[in-house]
């Protein structure tokens, strides 16, 4: 019998967090800033897109005290991210790194496992 542990695969990790894939549920787990949240496929990529759209240069150059905080309420999640500039950079690295690893996984599947024999 498979345990829950075997379904969870680490996709990408940094010092600040990690992204896991749950093979059973087909969703992703984001471990960041001490909390873990589950995201369905479209919601995970919507969050990544939202984070990538943040204009970091504008945030940094704006002297307003409120400008260095971004509040993000991702779809399909109860979690609210309140991120400062550094955390946005860290989360951006984590999500984009995970995306690259997912693409690599797709390439491996295409080249190694789905090749007709």
């Amino acid at each position: 019998m498979e345990t829950t542990q075997t379904y969870l695969k680490e996709i990408f990790a940094t010092d600040q967090g990690a992204v896991y894939q749950c093979d059973k549920e087909g969703n992703f787990l984001l471990d960041f800033a001490g909390q873990t949240s589950a995201f369905k496929f479209p919601c995970f990529f919507a969050l990544r897109k939202r984070i990538n759209q943040i204009d970091l240069a504008k945030m940094i150059s704006n002297p307003d005290t409120s400008s260095d905080i971004e509040i993000i309420c991702p779809c399909g999640s109860n979690r609210v991210f309140v991120l400062n500039t550094m955390e946005i950079i860290q989360l951006k690295d984590l999500l984009n790194g995970a995306k690259v690893m997912m693409e690599l996984n797709s390439i491996l599947f295409e080249r190694l496992y789905r090749v007709a024999v």
Partner: protein, 175 residues
């Protein structure tokens, strides 16, 4: 590890982005033709007005065709924001010149989509886009023929009246 990404969608991110840009372009064309229909209606060019109402509807259908395709293959289609549509035009001729320019821009944009499809080896989307490329032959043809009427008939006297009357007769029959 399961290949969840491929199981959920066959679109790469770059193809999804360029298809959403194309959705926006088709929506913009639909809105532009609606503005042209309104201008023609106001200025008494009723046949041209009808022509542009029809063109506007067709562009919206094109937009929906791509929109549904993106969602069908697991991507996310974005409902486009359209702004900056010109509402006034100098003359009936300038309306058709604007229409032809729009169609040329659309053909070039579609070519870029197909070009990218081949670059990333997305032959499914490349095949899907063939219908649009074929459609562009007709679209450009109709606007070119319309502009030729301005040269053949001339705009003096009852010229624009005659041109307007001839617009519905333009048909592409070389499919």
């Amino acid at each position: 590890m399961r290949d969840i990404v491929r199981q959920k969608t066959s679109l790469t991110e770059e193809i999804e982005i360029i298809l959403n840009e194309q959705i926006k372009l088709e929506a913009k064309a639909s809105a532009l033709y609606l503005a042209m229909a309104s201008w023609c209606d106001q200025h008494g060019f009723l046949y041209s007005s009808e022509f542009f109402y029809k063109q506007s509807g067709e562009e919206r259908e094109h937009m929906l065709k791509i929109f549904k395709y993106v969602n069908d293959v697991g991507g996310k289609a974005f409902s486009p924001e359209v702004a900056g549509i010109p509402q006034d035009f100098d003359s009936l001729k300038s309306v058709f010149v604007g229409g032809l320019e729009q169609e040329i821009a659309n053909t070039q944009a579609l070519n870029r989509v197909v070009d990218l499809c081949y670059k990333v080896k997305d032959y499914t989307t490349a095949h899907f886009m063939q219908w649009f490329l074929k459609e562009q032959i007709e679209e450009e043809f109709i606007f070119r023929r319309a502009l030729e009427l301005f040269e053949v008939i001339g705009e003096e006297g009852v010229g624009t009246y005659m041109i307007d009357k001839k617009i519905p007769d333009i048909k592409y029959t070389h499919e």
